[in-house]
Each structure stands twice: as structure tokens, then as C-alpha cells.
Symmetry: C2
């Protein structure tokens, strides 16, 4: 595009109101003075990946404390909770071998990552014939063929879902529950097609959960190009052996901390609005979009409100949850402490969908109650928020909703790039755009301001 | 984000209609079978940057012909027009020097790109004291200080504009008209802060236009970090010499071609709906987002309509314009031929804002007429279109509007990343996301379908 013509995009908010002017002021503050991007750089580049219980997460806790103090929090503290400590234990290795030309065995390496919470193979690894399974229906039909084999779940992301999280929801059970379902029929290991429709070959890790009724067999995700190749070979009828070695294991549970900072409310300091992200991340990269961006979003909400001189009526509490990825112990503990202390919580918002341009919020509220909030959408549309959807809040704030009935929500950024990055080596600072990140913080600040002012 | 919770985003289109079902079918077709991404890869990776008149643009014309035929166009042809042929002529070089410690001169290289359509310095380059100018008001106030100097326009992008194109519109005149305004007061060259708010230091080229009343002085854009550094030094009061060398020049005008493909209308084959992008691009990279994505969007509209078996009432004409960046000769010629042939044009749509997730369309229509189209927005919202804005169409289709009164429009993708990429070495295939690209094609297909069916 040259300079000759450029677009003047309409401000769909229409007539200005006090609220639109106030939110525009927060927008200016964030776009000009935001610390979100710099905070994220420090987190990603000086600490990097940070699973619960890892040495890195303790450094990240210190980072969070410092960032919250710098943002102007009235008080900052650590909320203790026990966390699991899963360890990858080095590089995961896999290859397949099959007969090529006469007397020649072809051996192809696979790019794999052990699934989080999975157990490794021991030093020798596991080798067995591999069987291609497309979905659980096929697994059930072919259950007599599974014994002694390595099951390869090749369930693709459904490209037709415009909302990529729907594809994740549909394919996710193969990662989450697939290993135990295969173990039930005697599989010795499981490999899955990564939860993605990316064009590269990076494997995507992420939690699995063993059903204690069956053997805890090793399991890993492979990159999509490798999955395509392996599926092609199996479809051609090749007899294929798969070798997999992983040293994944658990160390004993250890102490972790939610990092909490408060901006004390002017009128109802004992009533809380929580805004958060999760501090822990998977280990292949830096946990930038998942969920460094959510952490810096939440910190920025506090910083921006203080910077523009807005004192909330209720106490704003920023929470960096310690263990979303493989246990949810941080979110569970936060709710438990809130209940034990009989705290009154008005609302809780999480950002855990990445630092992309915002598109909407999803709420735990039912349709009729959500309809009453929709007149706020035009106030947030200039910053990207085009919809308030049903669908619940972020994982870490869900215990507040489920146990205490607190309304919760989650930022819904544009999700098209998320599953190119999620739980892979791509999840690095360089893949976050400064302005997209900032628009998320603006949208969240706007919603929190409206909830603080008008309730919900 | 783990698997425990995932978002189900509401389909804001509400109740299904025949139109929503039809557009959803086109969406499925594009998301599963699109050729847009593969076409873009070939254009970017086998041809690359392609200024009008360059050897590359002729290869790109052949690429366009082949891609349109493969998409199923009934006829494909080249529409001749004369184009300018501006040549960079090698690497542009610049550095600044100033007194450091006693008896020591400090010399700093600057990363620069000659502005498009600018003339070079000759082999010796130009060296002169540099003067920092923030805006045209300051230039006027200090006009007596300009003679014999190199003017450094350091007008920043206004970060506060959520819509980055507004910042481009505000800063653009320093690139477009700044050199001649400085030449008027005797400047010997101009360097500008690049039209961007990116975090890197890549310079952004793009057209300038000399006022024939003044000397055609050399001019270049520099990266933002270099601009910050130079501005700091000048603000500290350093006396700075700037050296700049460029071999930029024009060769004689040459023959170029708009590439045109048609899908003949079933009811009114002599009435046209045009959809296009521009084939030419700047030279530092591959012209991926500017405007390879617009070309493959337009081709994909035709391909998808044919693939789902939709025969438009009017003839759909895909046009890949040959010279948007530094002359608009392609768009001008297309209108001239349409007028000469007394063609009836119903509508023309261009994609020239990058291959990012779509957010809206801007139209040349006035408010009252645009209001009548807005009931279509819910049909397109599932694919990202949240607004129909006033503001005109793409540059190449604007002659159709200005001269023949044809309603025109432009796709408005999410613009947050655009000015990190635009006219720089960053404009490569790898910075285009497959699904974001496809959503643009879906949105355009949907709008074209609605216009074809209902008029506007």
C-alpha cells in the first residue's frame, strides 16, 4: 500500500460518553507508556520456560513481585501452595524404521516432545510396531489389535472451525485421555499428532492425565509434518517399528506461590475484583503467549489505572497463578483461601489466550445476564472487542466460579496464530507484537473499569 | 492455556439464513482447500520483490496468469499500460560523524533505504551538516537555517491511534512531500524517520513525490532506532555531519500489464464486479503482505466461488494491478479502458492492507447508503468483519470511483502488525499466517456474494 490513500477507520463507539472518554484515556496511557512489553521481555529472555516447581518459576515469582511493585501495587505478597514437579529430564527421542529396498531398513527420526505429566520409558526406551488410529471410535473397533503396540493417534485439527479453540477442544481429548484409553487395550506407548494445524513440524507438548485404572504408558506428541509422513507410510501398508525414549518423571511435590498484588479500593476495600494470568509455562520455549502475556496484561491493568489516577471502588487484585498447565493448584488454592477468609469477590478475569489483538470476552454468565452487559461492547469495540460470549472464564479463575459462584471471564484474543505457537518452541517473545499485546491490556482495563463502576 | 477449559465462542450471526449457510460453505471451502497460501509462497519465494518495470514483475505477471487459470477463470488476459521504472541501483549507504573525545571523530553507520521515486546522490555521495526537524511548522520557522544542510524529519508515528493507518496518514506527508519542502529552502538532502512504530531498526521505503518547482534532492528513510539515536545526539547539541550515497534513478518508462481473469456472470455478463490487489511491490523483501496477500485473496475469491459451484449473476473480474506503489498506472489504465469500452461496473473491492485477520471493510459510500448495507455485518462477523466504515476503497480501484462513480471498497485487516512489515525487509512470506490470510479471502468472498446477489 502506498501513501496515496489510507484508511480512516470509523470509531464504532459513536457518541462520546464519560466512559468512552475515560477508556480512551487509559488507551492513550497504555499505548504510550505501557510496561507490558518490557516486562514480558524480561520474563521471557532472562527466565524463559518455567514449569511449576522448576528453578525458573521461583525466579519468575521474584520477577512478578518486582513488576507489581513497579506498577504501583499497594501490597504484594506470595500465596503458598503445593505444586507438582514434573521434569522432562532431557531430550525426547523417537524414530521409526521400516523395510525399504531389499535388505535395507529405512530409519526416520521424529521430532517429539513427551506430554506433560507423562512418565518416561526408562533408559532403553520402548520399541514396538505402530498402529494408526484416527479417533476413539476406531480405537474401540480395533481394540483387539492394540496389545503390545504403540498407538499413533492422528486426529487432525478441524480446519473448518474459524475459532481455533473449537478445534483444540475437539482434538484435545486425544492428548488428555488418549494414552490411558490405549493402555486399557494393552498399548505400550502412545504418540499423538500435535494439537495444531501449523505449517511447521514443531511438536506441541501439554498435559496428559493418566487414568489410575490402567498402566501409565509413555506418550509423546509429534510435529505435524512427521505425523503426515508416518500416517502416509502406515496407510501404504508399511510395517513400522517406532522407538521412543523419554526420561520424563515426577519429583516430589514442592512449594510454589501465587504472586498477588493489590490496588486497594476506595469504597469497598474488602470486595475484590481479580485479574490474572498464569506464571507457569511449558518448557520448550519462553512461555511468551502462554501465558507471559496474560501476566503482563494483568499487571498492566493495575499500572494503567494507577497511572491515569483512577482509584477503583473495589480492591483490584492482580494474581499470577503458579500452576495452570499441569495441575491448576494455584487457581484452586486461590479459591480455597478466598473461601477460608470469607472474602467477597465481585468478578474475576483471566487472560490466557495469548497476546494477540483482542476480539471479545467470554463470560460464565448466562444469556440473560450477559445481554445486560452487551451495551458495554461499543465502549470496547474501538480496542477490538466485538463480542461478549458465553463460555466461561480462564482455568485459574474457574474455581472461584464453580465453588463460590463468582462471575468470571476470559479475554478472547484473535486465535488464528495461537496454535502455531502454543506449547512449542515457537512460544518466544519475538512472536508477540507490542501493540497487539497492549490492546489486550486496554480491553481488560476497560472491562474492569466498567465492572468496578457498574457491577455486573 | 491447558486443556481443562477451552472457549466456545458464540457465533454472533445468530439465526441461520440461506446466506449465512452459503457463506459458511465458502468458508469451509477456503479453510480446507484454499490455494491462497501456496500461491503466495510461489510468488514470494520464486519471484520476490517486484517493482513495476523490473524483470521480476514480468515473472509475476506469468505467475498471475497461471494462478488465475488454475483457479478456473473463464478467460485470462494482460492489459497493457506504460509504467515507470525506478531502480534502486544497489545498496544505499549512510553514516553520521561527530566529535567524540578530543581529537577523535565518532562515525556511526545508519541503516537507510532511498525513498521510492527519489534520485540518488551520484557516486561521491552527499555530505553536509544535519538539522533535526520535527514537523513542517518547525521547518517553516527555521527555514533560514536549512540551506546547505541535510534535513532530518523525525516525525514519529502517533502511538495513540489504535488504527495504525491513521498514524501513517499523519506521518506520511514527511515522506511524500518532505523532500521538496526542504529543497525549497536549500536543503541538499533529506533523511526521514521511517513510517512505523516498530521495535526493530529496519528502514521503510515507499514513494516520495518531487515538486518540480524545486531541486530534486536525494532522500532516504532510516530505521527507528537509528532515528532515535541521531535525534538524541542532535538534541544534545552535537554538530553532526551526515553522509549519504544512493544510486537511485529512473530508467525510461516501459510496458507493464494488469493481469485480469474473469468468471463470466450468468445473468448480466456485461456488468462487472472487480476484486483485486496489486502485483507490484517494493524491493527490500518479497512483497508478501504488500500486496501479495491482496493478489492471492482476489484469486481465491474466484477459485472458491467456482469450487462451491456458485455462478455469479454479474461477471467477476479479478485484477492484479501492475503499479500501485509508485505511480498507480495500473489502476488508472484499468479505469481508462473501462470508460473507453463503456463497461458497466457494479462494484470494485481491493485488498491492500495485508493478510491479517479481517476486521472490517471501508467503502466509498456515504453514511446513509452504507447504513443500508450494515445488516450484512452479522453474516460476516463469524469471519472477523465487525464494521463497515466510510473511508474509500483501495488505491487501484479509486479511479473507478472518482471518474466513473463506481462504489468501491477495501478490506480492512487487523493493522497492528502492518507497519512493522510494510516496505521493509520484514515483508516476507514467513510473516503471513495461513489462516489469517484465508479469513480475508472468506470475508471478501462473502461480501462479493452479497453484492452480486443484492446489489448495493
Amino acid at each position: 500500500m502506498g501513501i496515496i490513500l489510507f484508511l480512516i477507520l470509523g470509531n464504532a463507539a459513536g457518541a462520546q460518553t464519560n466512559d468512552s472518554v475515560f477508556i480512551a484515556g487509559m488507551s492513550d496511557e497504555v499505548l504510550v507508556n505501557s510496561k507490558a512489553y518490557d516486562n514480558l521481555r524480561v520474563l521471557c529472555k532472562t527466565i524463559g520456560g518455567r514449569l511449576a516447581g522448576s528453578p525458573q518459576i521461583y525466579k519468575a515469582e521474584t520477577w512478578g513481585v518486582n513488576a507489581l511493585k513497579a506498577a504501583g501495587a499497594d501490597k504484594v505478597w506470595l500465596q503458598e501452595c503445593m505444586v507438582p514437579r514434573w521434569v522432562r529430564g532431557g531430550k525426547d527421542i523417537a524414530w521409526v524404521s521400516y523395510a525399504g529396498a531389499p535388505d535395507k531398513t529405512i530409519k526416520l527420526p521424529l521430532d517429539v516432545l513427551a506430554l506433560g505429566n507423562s512418565l518416561g520409558t526408562g533408559a532403553k526406551g520402548v520399541q514396538a510396531p505402530v498402529i494408526l488410529i484416527h479417533d476413539f471410535d476406531e480405537l474401540e473397533k480395533r481394540k483387539d489389535e492394540i496389545k503390545g503396540k504403540i498407538v499413533f493417534y492422528n486426529h487432525p485439527f478441524n480446519k473448518k472451525f474459524v475459532q481455533t479453540f473449537r478445534a483444540y477442544g475437539e482434538a484435545g481429548p486425544y492428548r488428555w485421555g488418549g494414552p490411558s484409553r490405549a493402555a486399557r487395550y494393552g498399548a505400550v506407548a502412545v504418540v499423538i499428532r500435535s494439537m495444531s494445524d501449523a505449517t511447521d513440524n514443531y511438536p506441541h507438548t501439554g498435559s496428559t492425565e493418566y487414568d489410575s485404572a490402567y498402566a501409565k504408558i509413555p506418550c509423546a506428541a509429534m510435529g505435524l509434518r512427521d505425523a503426515d509422513k508416518l500416517a502416509d507410510l502406515l496407510t501404504q501398508g508399511k510395517k513400522i517399528q517406532l522407538y521412543y525414549k523419554s526420561n520424563a518423571h515426577f519429583l516430589p511435590d514442592t512449594i510454589g506461590h501465587n504472586v498477588i498484588g493489590e490496588y486497594t479500593g476506595a469504597e469497598s476495600p474488602n470486595e475484590y475484583i481479580t485479574v490474572g494470568g498464569h506464571l507457569d509455562s511449558w518448557d520448550p520455549a519462553e512461555g511468551a503467549h502462554d501465558d507471559g502475556t496474560g501476566c503482563v496484561h494483568a499487571i498492566e491493568v493495575l499500572r494503567a489505572m494507577k497511572a491515569v489516577g483512577y482509584r477503583p471502588k473495589h480492591t483490584l487484585r492482580v494474581v499470577l497463578f503458579v500452576n495452570e498447565e499441569n495441575g491448576l493448584r494455584g487457581g484452586t488454592q486461590y479459591e480455597a483461601q478466598a473461601a477460608a477468609n470469607k472474602e467477597k469477590h465481585l468478578f474475576a478475569l483471566e487472560s490466557d489466550g495469548g497476546g494477540f489483538t483482542p476480539r471479545g470476552f467470554s463470560f460464565s454468565l448466562q444469556a440473560a445476564r450477559l445481554d445486560k452487559l452487551r451495551p458495554w461492547i461499543p465502549l470496547l469495540l474501538p480496542y477490538g472487542i466485538a463480542a461478549f460470549n458465553e463460555g466461561g472464564g480462564g482455568a485459574d479463575v474457574t474455581p472461584l466460579n464453580e465453588t463460590m459462584g463468582v462471575p468470571v471471564a476470559e479475554l478472547q484474543p484473535d486465535g488464528q496464530r495461537y496454535f502455531d505457537i502454543h506449547h512449542t518452541r515457537n512460544d518466544v517473545f519475538e512472536n508477540v507484537n507490542k501493540r497487539e499485546l497492549e490492546l489486550g491490556a486496554i480491553s481488560m482495563s476497560g472491562l474492569i473499569y466498567l465492572v468496578d463502576k457498574y457491577g455486573l
